[in-house]
Amino acid sequence: MLHIVNKSATDRGSLESCLRMATKGSAVLLIEDAVYAATTGNAAAAKIQAAAADLKIYALGPDLAARGMAGRVLDGVNVVDYGGFVDLVAEHSNCQSWL
């Protein structure tokens, strides 16, 4: 399953909810303000790194760049472009957006 999160983890609880429900081997794609969680020094960084052991974590590159965060991405997080976003949706049989 592909989980998509678009809200900042330091503003809302949707990343937390997502990580609680995501089962081993699932993919989590961070877009829009959710990408901050995948950057060094963010309060949610430890959660992301712990989750990366069981889940595949992706972050959308254009959203990172638009926030000045392109150079601060955590190790273990895969940066994808819009084409990669489409591929992730196509590769997974189902998808949940944590609005």
Partner: protein
């Protein structure tokens, strides 16, 4: 058409205004709207402070490149505030720490305040407007 300058001959009352910014720049429209309100308010010669707390500190990040999401890069506009005589910019230390940021990461010069200093600053305002 009426330039704001023509409207400045009002009462001459100067109040302390705080604009409190708590949202990240692109995910919602709050950051951009707040900035535009501050620029308009500048014409009224009030005592304006701009405060960035929580995800609001992200508004001031250096190195923003928003071409990929086809959104205007308004981070450059914070550097115009000085020309509008808005020079009191404050950020919250704890919010910076929780995001791994230091003053060097920011596009403008700011004063970093501890939480009790920020609380006092807020308490002494006549008007607080939150975005």
């Amino acid at each position: 058409m009426s330039d704001m300058d023509e409207m400045e001959d009002g009462s001459g009352i100067v109040k302390k205004f705080m604009f409190l910014n708590r949202k990240a720049p692109h995910g919602t429209v709050y950051a951009l709207e707040g900035l535009e309100v501050v620029l308009i308010t500048a014409a009224f010669d009030q005592d304006v402070s701009m405060v960035f707390t929580d995800d609001g500190v992200y508004q001031l990040m250096k190195g923003i490149d928003s071409k990929g999401i086809e959104v205007k890069d308004f981070s450059k506009t914070y550097r115009a505030l000085e020309g509008y005589d808005i020079e009191k910019l404050y950020v919250d230390q704890a919010s910076m720490d929780a995001r791994g940021l230091t003053e060097d990461d920011l596009i403008v010069d700011v004063t970093v305040l501890a939480v009790d200093e920020m609380a006092n600053l807020m308490a002494e305002q006549d008007v607080v407007i939150s975005f």
